[in-house]
């Protein structure tokens, strides 16, 4: 069995376990390439039936518009329901406070909105497209990751996960996060996109856009930040990950085709999340966020 097929089999087995073991599962959908791959795997897992659970999008309000328009197109294509949890609502209700300063981002505010959406929809399992090769704390997480009443990950007391016996037994109030593509690498995701001919947001391909430099990274100019016009330059760039606009850096690139992007990633001397300012905040930035309920 080739590697992509092995990974596909593993992911679909996990997706089916989630659906079979839980009453109210959902797919956490960000609109990025990983969640698009996961959505496609969910579709394949239940053919010829439709996907038997909804998508949940935690919307920071700072999305790339290209991501949102593709999201809506995919919902029609796969005929699946979508719930949107708005970070703006959590801000308006005073549950979270908008960060200030030049590093302000809504990334960490998402956690509150996510946990509220989970409890509102009474979800007991949330699937996500996180991969272990992305980040060192993610490299430690199980396929079925139990979260307590507060959505917290207890990194020191994870359930042993043996062979393919996935233990999804939980107490009321708890939920699990399930990661079907845990063992995929960034390149596997790209190669799968090519193999299955999947549409991804256009911002993954090279395009010209106004950017400014921040700590050696090229950040997109958005309406949400105040940037000195003298700092702004027009560059041909693409994005390697798609998160909140305020914390996702672009890379210089002329790659307008999938084959060339794959070559660029293969040769890149920088890691994928090297372009995520949210991970650069501290040594254990991802772990700290996961402990309080982040993806």
């Amino acid at each position: 069995m080739n590697i992509l097929k092995q990974l596909e089999e593993e992911a679909i087995y996990i997706i089916r376990e989630v659906v079979a073991q839980f009453d109210k599962p959902a797919l956490l959908f960000s609109g990025g390439k990983d969640s698009i791959v996961l959505l496609h795997l969910c579709h394949k897992a239940f053919l010829p039936a439709r996907i038997p659970f909804p998508l949940v999008h935690i919307d920071t309000g700072h999305n790339f518009p290209e991501t949102i328009s593709l999201r809506d197109k995919l919902i029609d294509q796969y005929q699946v329901k979508l719930h949107v949890g708005l970070v703006q609502d959590s801000i308006d209700q005073g549950k979270v406070v908008e960060e200030k300063g030049k590093y302000a981002s809504r990334n960490s505010l998402q956690t509150t909105t996510l946990l509220e959406t989970i409890s509102e929809l009474k979800l007991d399992a949330c699937m996500g497209g996180a991969r272990r090769d992305e980040e060192k704390a993610r490299a430690k997480e199980r396929i079925f990751s139990v979260r307590d009443d507060f959505g917290q990950w207890n990194e020191k007391l994870q359930r042993p996960e043996l062979f393919d016996h996935l233990n999804g037994t939980i107490q009321p109030g708890e939920h699990i996060r399930a990661f079907p593509i845990s063992n995929w690498t960034e390149l596997d995701v790209w190669e799968y996109i090519r193999q299955e001919n999947l549409e991804i947001p256009s911002i993954y391909y090279a395009h010209e856009r106004p950017v400014f430099k921040r700590d050696g990274q090229l950040m997109p100019v958005t309406e949400f930040q105040q940037i000195d016009p003298s700092e702004i330059e027009i560059q041909s760039v693409r994005f390697r990950t798609v998160g909140d606009m305020s914390c996702t850096a672009a890379v210089l690139s002329e790659a307008e085709e999938l084959d060339i992007i794959i070559e660029e990633i293969r040769d890149s001397s920088y890691s994928e999340r090297g372009a995520r300012m949210d991970d650069k905040r501290s040594e254990g930035a991802m772990e700290e966020r996961k402990k309080i309920g982040y993806f």
């Binding site: 069995m1 080739n2 590697i3 092995q6 089999e9 679909i12 087995y13 089916r16 376990e17 659906v19 079979a20 394949k44 897992a45 239940f46 053919l47 010829p48 039936a49 439709r50 272990r132 090769d133 980040e135 060192k136 704390a137 993610r138 490299a139 430690k140 990194e155 020191k156 994870q158 359930r159 042993p160 996960e161 043996l162 062979f163 393919d164 016996h165 233990n167 037994t169 939980i170 107490q171 845990s182 063992n183 690498t185 890149s268 001397s269 920088y270 890691s271 090297g274 040594e283 254990g284 772990e287 700290e288």
Partner: protein
């Protein structure tokens, strides 16, 4: 290109994380920003070299204490092969995490400290690999630089390990012994200049060339995960039994039996993700459609009859216990065999195995990290087959019904 899954084992401080970090570095799997980060951290710790363990110890507590607590999954490749390394903790307290890492691996890389040789944890981890049926083992004698690359020391350790293997009396083991220095890079990628007496392959030679073919098992079993029933007009009568081919294979037209009902029918069609197929094999997911309307639900199996699959409500198994609350006679647990679950009661604990010495002792309970033999009475009938005969069907997890935690793993005898 194929994928090799390697788990590490060995005691704390044997240098596992350093070795793995170094492998990542030497294969170019660490990116510039990650190397810069390690450089920065190493300098701030006052080191004059790169502390490669920082590449794998991902938790704050691990970095703080300088130990590995839980399995870290790392990905790298060479021109010949792709690898997933489950870097597992060496500390006895975290044995359950070591078992987790090893359970999903093809090969175990067991590290030893050249200055210490075979110690208790070597024996324990070797025993666990054999419990899990790992047939390919690499014994890497690390820190050879600290014993002046002395051949005698390596030969002594090799001899000790051979005794260990003989004691276990396990057959068809494929074993490699490599003297190395993870810190200095000797015998990782390049042959060591300081150990010209060693004629075997480097660690890279070994992991790139170790054979992966495993013959499929004889028993043909699909365990049903979910029944696909599209609520769409054109699929009104569609009932697809979806699951993984745990063992063997199925072809169109095969006569299959349903477990536990015993009903027999034929395979009308085989689908994979909506596409019709003639045959599906071990490891593949499939959706089977049957000729007759039979009652099949999640946890049931579709199989072709075999003498090795025994329908039973009692099982005896080797247990590796993974929680503080002991397993004791009379306790009730939920047993999970893949997608099938059954309540159970412990009817007997017959012995606790002394994994670091010889033989076993009488016991009535098993505590955290104990390995022993227990018998269960099940509420439902299951299909039983010894683990050593079929690794894909012969194991189960034990779930604590009060906490829902995975309390242990069992290997059917």
């Amino acid at each position: 290109m194929n994928l090799l899954r390697i788990a590490t084992a060995g005691s704390v401080d044997d240098g596992k994380s350093t070795l793995i970090g170094r492998l990542l570095y030497e294969t170019g799997s660490l990116k510039d920003d990650q190397i810069e980060h390690i450089q920065e951290k190493s300098t701030s710790k006052g080191l004059d070299h790169l502390d490669f363990s920082l590449a794998t110890d991902g938790l704050l507590a691990e970095r703080e204490q300088g130990i590995t607590i839980d399995v870290s999954h790392l990905y790298f490749k060479t021109k010949k092969r792709r690898f997933i390394i489950a870097d597992s903790p060496g500390h006895i307290e975290y044995t359950r995490n070591m078992v987790t890492g090893t359970s999903n691996s093809d090969v175990t890389l067991l590290l030893l400290d050249a200055r210490k040789g075979v110690i208790e944890q070597t024996k324990r981890h070797f025993y666990i690999t054999q419990l899990l049926g790992i047939k390919k083992l690499i014994f890497a004698v690390n820190k050879m630089d600290l014993v002046e690359f002395d051949q005698n020391i390596f030969d002594q350790i090799k001899k000790q390990i051979k005794v260990l293997i003989e004691e276990q009396n396990t057959k068809d083991l494929q074993v490699y012994f490599i003297p190395l220095s993870a810190l200095k890079g000797d015998n990782l990628l390049e042959k060591s200049e300081s150990m010209k007496w060693y004629s075997g392959g480097t660690l890279f030679d070994v992991i790139e060339n170790i054979s992966l073919e495993e013959p499929p098992y004889k028993e043909n079993v699909l365990q049903v995960q979910t029944v696909i029933r599209p609520k769409l007009d054109e699929y009104h009568d569609y009932r697809g039994f979806a699951g993984k081919i745990k063992s063997g294979s199925f072809s169109l037209g095969d006569t299959v039996e349903v477990f536990p009902s015993g009903t027999k029918t034929k395979i009308k069609s085989i689908e994979r993700y909506g596409e019709a197929k003639l045959k599906v094999i071990q490891g593949e997911n499939a959706t089977l459609l049957l000729e007759d309307e039979v009652n099949v639900s999640r946890g049931d199996s579709l199989f072709t009859s075999s003498e090795s699959l025994i329908a039973t409500k009692t099982i005896k198994a080797k247990i590796c216990w993974m929680q503080e609350n002991a397993l004791s006679i009379g306790s009730k647990y939920l047993l999970q065999f893949g997608t099938n679950k059954s309540l159970s009661k412990v009817t007997d604990v017959s012995e606790r195995i002394n994994v670091t010495g010889n033989g076993s002792e009488k016991a009535t309970s098993l505590g955290l990290n104990d390995i022993g033999i227990a018998s269960f009475q099940l509420a439902n009938t299951i299909q039983s087959i010894p683990y050593q005969k079929n690794k894909s069907l012969g194991s189960f997890i034990i779930i604590d019904i009060n906490t829902n935690n995975t309390a242990g793993i069992g290997f059917i005898e």
